[in-house]
C-alpha cells in the first residue's frame, strides 16, 4: 500500500472525524476532531491500517496565541513499517479528551504524564493522577503560563506512625 492509497483509505475510513491530512518535514500528519480521537485511533489500530503500536503521546501548549492545546499521538505500524502522527486540538479553557485506555496499555502512563504536565483530563481513564510530580504539586509545569523557575511549596513533614 503506497502512501497515497493509504491516505485515501484513511479518508474514507475515518470520514468526518478527519479534519485534515498534512505533512511536516516528511512526516505524515493527520488532524482529527477532538471528539473523535478514540474512535479514529481505534480504527487506525485495526486492519488495513494496522498501527499496532502507540509510540508516544504528548501535548503542545498553544494557549497564549491560539487558545488551544494540541495532543500529539505517534503511531507505528509494524507490518508496514511506517509511522503516523495524529493531532487533535482541545480548548485551553477546559482541556479534555477521551482516554485510550483499553486500546493500548501504555496509554495509562502516557495520559497520566500529559495530565500531570498540562492538566488535560482524559475521560474514562481508570486512575488519572500525577505521574512525574507528586500529589500536592501546584500547577501543571509544561504549560506556558507556568514560570520556568517557580518554586513549589515545601511538603510538610508527615506525622504518622
Amino acid at each position: 500500500m503506497g502512501p497515497e492509497t493509504l491516505i485515501e483509505k484513511i479518508r474514507t475510513g475515518l470520514g468526518e472525524a478527519l479534519a485534515s491530512v498534512g505533512e511536516s518535514f516528511g512526516d505524515t500528519v493527520l488532524t482529527v476532531e477532538a471528539a473523535a480521537v478514540r474512535s479514529a485511533l481505534a480504527a487506525l489500530r485495526e486492519a488495513p491500517f494496522d498501527y499496532a503500536v502507540l509510540l508516544d503521546l504528548t501535548c503542545v501548549d498553544f494557549a497564549a496565541a491560539e487558545g488551544r492545546f494540541e495532543l500529539v499521538y505517534h503511531l507505528y505500524s509494524l507490518s508496514r513499517n511506517v509511522r503516523l502522527r495524529v493531532k487533535a486540538s482541545v480548548p485551553a479553557a477546559d482541556p479534555a479528551v477521551a482516554s485510550l485506555s483499553g486500546l493500548w496499555r501504555n496509554a495509562d502512563w502516557l495520559e497520566r504524564e500529559v495530565f500531570d504536565m498540562f492538566g488535560v483530563r482524559f475521560e474514562g481513564h481508570p486512575d488519572l493522577r500525577r505521574l512525574l510530580t507528586y500529589e500536592g504539586f501546584e500547577g501543571h509545569p509544561l504549560r506556558k503560563s507556568y514560570p520556568w523557575r517557580l518554586a513549589q511549596p515545601r511538603i510538610p513533614m508527615r506525622e504518622d506512625g
Binding site: 509510540l55 504528548t58 502522527r85 496499555r105 502512563w109 505521574l131 512525574l132 507556568y146
Partner: protein, 443 residues
C-alpha cells in the same frame, strides 16, 4: 497522612504492604515499588516514578538549540552519545542539512560503543543483584575500556556532548584505533567469560527462566521497543526498520528471543553486544586515519589576539588540549557545510575580524541555529529501544516544545503487571532486566 495511593486503597486488610525503594540497595535507580504481600507472594503492585524529574523538557524551551545539547547527555546517562545523536538528527531533519561521510561513520562508532556500554551496565547490575558479583566486576571492567576509548576522543566519559548538530565536535584522537581495538578485544573476552558463568548457571536460570514472561501482543500494546521487545520475538530495530547514518551499508543481525522472560532479555542483550562489536570492527575498517596536520609554528590564543590587533595573525593558533581534533583543517569532514550550524573554527575567531563576527552571530540571542517553523519526530535505536525526539519549532532560536520519547518509560510501565502473582525475589531480576534509567524515564 498524605493521600492514599491506589494500592493502599485497594489492599486487603489482612495483607502486608511493603515499600521497595525509592532507595533500595538491590534496585539501581530511584523508583518506588509498593507491594501488597501475602507472605512472599505479591498480590498487587504499584510503581511510582518521577524521583529524578528535573524538568528537562521545560528547561529546553528556555535554552537555545545549541546550548540545550548538554542536557541530553543526562537522559540515558549510560549511553549519552545516542541521546546526543537522536537530538542532533532531529534538528538536522528540520534544518535539512546532510552530514559528511566521516562524521556519519564516527557517529556509528560512538553509538555502538555506547550501546555495548549500556547493555554491559544493565546486565552487570542485573547479575549483581542476583548475587553474581564476579559478573558485575568483569562487565564494569569491559565498560571501562569502552569509556576510555570514548574519553580519548570526546574528552568526557559520560557527559560527552560530542555529537553536535551538523556533525561531530572534533576528529577522532590519533590513538583511537588502538583503544577501540583494545575495547573490542576486552569486551569479547568478558562476554565469553560471562556466558560461561551465567548461561547454564542453575541459580541464575532459576531466577530468570520463565520469570516475568511478556507476550508479544502485550509488549506491543505497552509500546516496548529495543532489546525488551526483541526478547519476545519481534525483530523490530530502528537501525534495520528505518536505517539512518550508514547502517544500511553495514552487516549485522538482529537477535530475537522466544519466550520474552528475564532470561531472554539477558540473552538478547548478550547477542546484541556481539553484533555491536562486529559493527565496531566494520566501521573502524571504513574510517581512514586523519591526515596529519601541517607542522609549523603555533601561537597561543592570547598571542594571536594581540597580534591581530595590528595585522592579521597568520600562524596557526594552538588550541587548548581538549579541543584537539577540532582544527579548521579537520572540520570539513566533520561538520556540514550546507548551513552554518556548527561553532565557527577557533582559529578564525582568534585571528580575524570576520571570524569573530561569525562567532558572535552564532552565539548571540536570536541568532545561531534556527530551524524553520514546524514539528518533526525522529528516532534512533538506543540502548533501551527507540529514542525519539518530537520537536516543535516556531522559527526562533529556542525550541517551542521538545519532547523525548523515552524507551524505558514504556518498559517500566509494564513492571506492575509482570511482578503481580510472583515472589518478592522476582522483582529484582525483572527490574534489572528492564534497564530502567531514571534520567530518561523521569526527564
Amino acid at each position: 497522612m498524605g493521600p492514599l495511593t491506589r494500592i493502599q486503597r485497594e489492599a486487603r486488610p489482612e495483607s502486608m504492604l511493603v515499600n521497595m525503594g525509592p532507595s533500595h540497595p538491590a534496585m539501581h535507580g530511584t523508583i518506588r515499588v509498593m507491594l501488597e504481600l501475602d507472605a512472599e507472594r505479591i498480590l498487587n503492585a504499584e510503581v511510582e516514578v518521577g524521583y529524578l524529574h528535573r524538568g528537562f523538557e521545560k528547561t529546553c524551551e528556555h535554552k537555545t538549540w545549541f546550548s540545550l545539547l548538554p542536557y541530553t547527555d543526562r537522559l540515558n546517562y549510560v549511553s549519552p552519545l545516542i541521546n546526543n545523536l537522536a537530538y542532533a538528527m532531529t534538528v538536522e531533519k528540520m534544518l535539512g542539512v546532510s552530514v559528511p561521510e566521516r562524521a556519519r561513520l564516527i557517529r556509528v562508532l560512538m553509538s555502538e560503543m555506547s550501546r555495548v556500554s549500556d547493555h554491559l551496565t544493565c546486565l552487570a547490575a542485573m547479575a549483581m543483584e542476583c548475587g553474581a558479583f564476579t559478573v558485575f566486576l568483569y562487565m564494569m571492567k569491559a565498560r571501562e575500556f569502552l569509556w576510555d576509548a570514548i574519553e580519548l576522543t570526546a574528552g568526557a566519559r559520560m557527559t560527552t556532548s560530542y555529537i553536535r548538530i551538523g556533525g561531530v565536535r572534533a576528529d577522532l584522537h590519533s590513538d583511537w584505533r588502538a583503544s577501540v581495538a583494545a575495547a573490542v578485544a576486552e569486551t569479547r573476552k568478558v562476554l565469553k567469560d560471562v556466558a560461561g558463568l551465567l548461561d547454564r548457571n542453575i541459580i541464575f536460570l532459576g531466577r530468570t527462566r520463565d520469570v516475568a514472561v511478556m507476550s508479544k501482543e502485550d509488549a506491543l500494546s505497552f509500546g516496548w521497543t529495543g532489546p525488551c521487545l526483541r526478547s519476545t520475538g519481534v525483530p523490530y530495530d530502528v537501525r534495520k526498520a528505518s536505517p539512518y547514518l550508514v547502517y544500511d551499508r553495514l552487516d549485522f543481525e538482529v537477535p530475537v528471543g522466544e519466550r520474552g522472560d528475564n532470561y531472554d532479555r539477558y540473552t538478547v542483550r548478550m547477542r546484541e553486544m556481539e553484533q555491536s562489536l562486529r559493527l565496531l570492527e566494520q566501521v573502524a575498517a571504513l574510517l581512514a586515519d586523519a591526515p596529519p596536520l601541517q607542522p609549523g609554528p603555533e601561537i597561543e590564543p592570547a598571542e594571536a589576539v594581540r597580534r591581530s590587533r595590528a595585522v592579521r595573525a597568520d600562524s596557526p593558533v594552538r588550541l587548548s588540549p581538549n579541543l584537539e581534533g577540532s582544527e579548521r583543517a579537520r572540520l570539513g569532514g566533520l561538520m556540514t557545510r550546507d548551513k552554518p550550524v556548527g561553532v565557527p573554527p577557533k582559529e578564525a575567531t582568534y585571528t580575524t575580524m570576520e571570524g569573530l563576527i561569525d562567532h558572535f552571530l552564532f552565539f548571540m540571542g536570536g541568532k545561531g541555529i534556527r530551524p524553520p517553523k514546524g514539528d518533526a519526530y525522529f528516532s534512533v535505536e538506543g540502548g533501551n529501544g527507540e529514542v525519539g525526539f518530537y520537536i516543535v519549532s516556531d522559527g526562533t532560536d529556542r525550541p517551542y516544545r521538545l519532547h523525548l520519547r523515552a524507551p524505558c518509560f514504556h518498559v517500566v510501565a509494564a513492571l506492575e503487571g509482570l511482578i503481580k502473582g510472583r515472589l518478592v525475589a522476582d522483582v529484582i531480576p525483572t527490574f534489572g532486566s528492564m534497564n530502567m534509567i531514571g534520567g530518561e524515564l523521569d526527564r
